[in-house]
Symmetry: D2
Subunit: 154 residues, 4 copies
């Protein structure tokens, strides 16, 4: 299990870790608030998955991984965005690069993501089963979620 590196969690009382969520299927929607494909496709899909299946069947998380326009997407802006777009699931802020002048946040770099939106899906054992850059069709996503939640963990 490759833990998310998060500087701050929003929309949740307590911090969240993948370790804690072991035993659950977990989706992590990695996004930037000013990414059109995220706004038009990814965030609405995340909200639908959250509304239809969480928390009984699975867990939905967001991860705000800013790799461009950093000054335009700080916490304050993200909070306004989440309020306006009615995001109800927990969202973590990807830790800023530790390198001088580094622009890629730490989780994004660790996972070698190509950009946003990226979807990460972990099974009940905490294994990463899907890492997908771009859009995934609802019916294919639903199939994966139905399959993974059916897995019996000994």
């Amino acid at each position: 299990m490759s833990e998310l590196l998060v500087s701050k969690w929003l929309n949740t009382r307590d911090d969240i870790s993948l370790e804690q969520l072991r035993g659950n299927v977990v989706l992590v929607y990695v996004f930037q608030m000013l990414c059109p494909a995220c706004i038009l496709h990814s965030i609405p899909q995340a909200s639908k998955v959250h509304q239809v299946f969480a928390p009984e069947k699975l867990q939905v998380l967001g991860l705000h991984s800013v790799f461009e326009h950093h000054d335009a997407m700080k916490e304050q802006s993200l909070r306004a965005f989440m309020h306006e777009f009615r995001i109800k699931f927990p969202v973590g802020i990807d830790k800023a690069s530790i390198r001088t002048k580094g622009i890629i946040p730490q989780t994004m770099e660790k996972y070698a993501m190509q950009g946003t939106p990226t979807l990460l899906i972990y099974d009940k054992k905490g294994e990463l089963r899907l890492q997908k850059f771009g859009h995934i069709d609802d019916i294919e996503l639903g199939f994966i979620l139905g399959s993974l939640t059916s897995e019996i963990v000994s």
Copy 2:
């Protein structure tokens, strides 16, 4: 298992029965060719499921159950419709009512369907697991299909 009552199968060399398909998850899209909700939502969803998952993961069938405008939806018209809408999966024609002046075809009556579109989903054992009148969202359908195909039949 409650067998479909079909007078003729199109888009298939051999006749089809649920009995034959035991061991597979099977979807039956019940429709009428002049039903707007069928054309706008149900048939496109059926074609997507067929294209994405069949025949490895599941089987998709259509059932043309005409309960109104009978003269406008005969086999010849259905064949033109299937050609124009590029329906690639097998479609059965629901058997006409055996009663004098009966307008509800036999499978539709046997299953007490409320109209079209109706979706029937059978598990690998041939048990009917879902009968839904109207539209089902792609993500919910995908989840059901992922769950059912994961079931292990002893």
Copy 3:
């Protein structure tokens, strides 16, 4: 003015001619009931134009021009289709070819249409101002209609 050649008008008490409608901007949506692009785009647009603008600002007509699957799209089927798709504007049936074995109906041939959907737009003087095969975007269509209805005819 190049009159429509119609064997029968539906959804109207009296027969209709372009000559009668002179003084009005007139849209003619040429379609086949089993043409997917007609069902998905053209007919819904025609119904919207009819609902928003007719009859005060303009007239909307349909023309059923069958050039394939003739037996599947006869008057009876068309009537069922119009009922199911709630078509409220008058629809004429394009006159069958006068030639032996001719498959292209007379208005379609006279206008050298490439297929369906085709949109014909006439100005207040009865002049054909647009003949377009395929889809036209709502905003471009609206602009043309706003322009043509603004023309002053002396």
Copy 4:
């Protein structure tokens, strides 16, 4: 003519005034960058109108009128938003309230707008002909634009 009160223009070399644009039909899309209805409907419509009709037939402008989450929607954020959403038309920043603790920007207050999105349409004489809060359908907007551009100004 009730001039826009703008602190700064983006996407244009020179400042813009309605007075200068007299003789043109002018659309002003009033928006906030974190307003979902603006992002999903209004900005895409503005970009389409700009692409299809401007600058020959009409002028498209944006006005960024922030009345909430002010700190999240400053110029820097707006510039990132405009870059990501590929906004090609000029956008003015509505002047901040002159009153202490005032949150409604000056143009928004002057026009008594109810919120965002709001669409303002001026005719060739510079008269305001439409002020609409919320979404306007493409076909209705196209009709208005076709009508107004057809008006002859003596």
